[in-house]
Symmetry: D2
Subunit: 155 residues, 4 copies
């Protein structure tokens, strides 16, 4: 485990998607900073925005109607600086790998230029009724690949 | 990132500390399984029990009175099987490293013999008023070392 | 809305059910006290314990297998004193009304002798697939009535 | 406890403040609907937006710098219809009472024209260090009164 170095916001790919979030009073702990599990909940909310606004896919229909789960096989965060109540932050997902039944992405979280934390997440697609792995659906795979390419092109 | 293999409960050190937890309805998501950030909240609760019941230290006084924070520099989880509502689980912390101003530990989560997930956590001790790193307090360091030794002895 | 007066723990019915809970670091906000929505989550957890340990009914099977929901039509709390991290509290449900498709109960929360808050909750039983009201199932109705009687007898 | 009747969105005062919120996957429970304590957390987030965007007051500085708490003495909700994942909702606070050291407000939650739930909340202003009641600060009192008047005028 080598500790990554914070990346200034301007070094992100210019065409990357950013999900805004506001740090709430109730997200913070008695130390006055974001309670760390909340960052993972904010990342999941950012993925919902990313699906709807960037990939053009309905995250909720994927689960409720198509019965495809997008649970995590792996979730990891390196914390560089604390988030404080009232902070406006941007969450930026970047695809790192598209496999058969899983895909990996980095989620950068910035407040202004400063990266507060970075998450590495691996999503496994499953059938929600059998709880077994299923291949990434074609429309999701294509949308992830297009986004990944756009981010790489723009560098 | 090589994916770890689940460890059967009986392979844990015999003198390891176990914090019990019950998976609640409200911990679960529309997929009917534990919403993954909740596992990190349960790990933090297990650390509080570990401090009180195993290390003999008051986690809350550490923060509120001594003003020492035990925030995370790194948090990571590999998910092997989902937790379901009503599940009784045991969380087992094992110390992996005691540094100058941080310590690392693994948190195993079992339901019966099966490991559901495994977390790797790095805690950095800080001064809560300045938000700067401080050396691990002596009483905490000694207690962590004793527990680490006890777990190793017992193997 | 007349504000109720805190009830000392010893005034509760002697045969009432008590669900223990521990206030966690992550349950508390930057003011250092329990973030108020968390009290409602703790109440729901206490109801799960009450079903299993007092009523002899499986709350989770009721939802997952029998597809009967026990959502709230009304939820209300009067806060008398704050909960602090590390506090051990007891939650005591007392049935106030058993109707056709809903039942009401009070949830007292005590730390030692002192009542910290009191909730008034109305649960409506629904079919989880149609989201329509259904009569309280017979086994639940009978168990609630027995518990209500036991609490009244003991006064 | 008489159950209120849902109010169509167009019956709200025309100059009322509305805080938008999006229902997240992680806000929902295994019944597929918003876990009810989450509504109170969303109400608190709406109050933060209301302070910043309508009252022109910094909610977080109020707590962190001025050390004035705005905890709840009473919180209550009537649930009319469930919130579903992906829903876009609007939260509308309306001041009902401005007292010496507390103020009351209604929080309406609408999805489109339909009111999903209505909360009644009483905030008590306190000194965060002594945890004793303090008079509502003058700037907050004046801002609340102006907003209350604006909502009444507009009817």
């Amino acid at each position: 485990m080598t500790r990554p170095t914070p990346l200034p916001f301007e070094k992100l790919p210019p065409r990357a998607f950013h999900a805004p979030a506001r740090i709430r009073f109730g997200d913070c702990d008695p130390a006055g900073i974001v309670f760390f599990p909340t960052w993972f909940a904010l990342a999941n909310a950012a993925v919902e925005d990313f699906f709807r606004d960037e990939l053009g896919l309905d995250f909720h229909a994927l689960h409720a109607t198509r019965r495809i789960g997008t649970g995590f096989a792996h979730a990891e965060a390196d914390f560089f600086a604390p988030g404080l109540m009232g902070d406006a932050v941007l969450l930026t997902p970047l695809i790192t790998r598209i496999g058969g039944a899983s895909y990996g992405f980095t989620m950068h979280v910035h407040r202004g230029a400063a990266e507060l934390l970075r998450m590495q997440l691996v999503t496994a697609t499953t059938n929600l009724d059998t709880r077994r792995p299923v291949p990434i659906p074609d429309d999701l795979r294509a949308a992830l690949a297009r986004y990944q390419e756009r981010c790489t092109d723009g560098r």
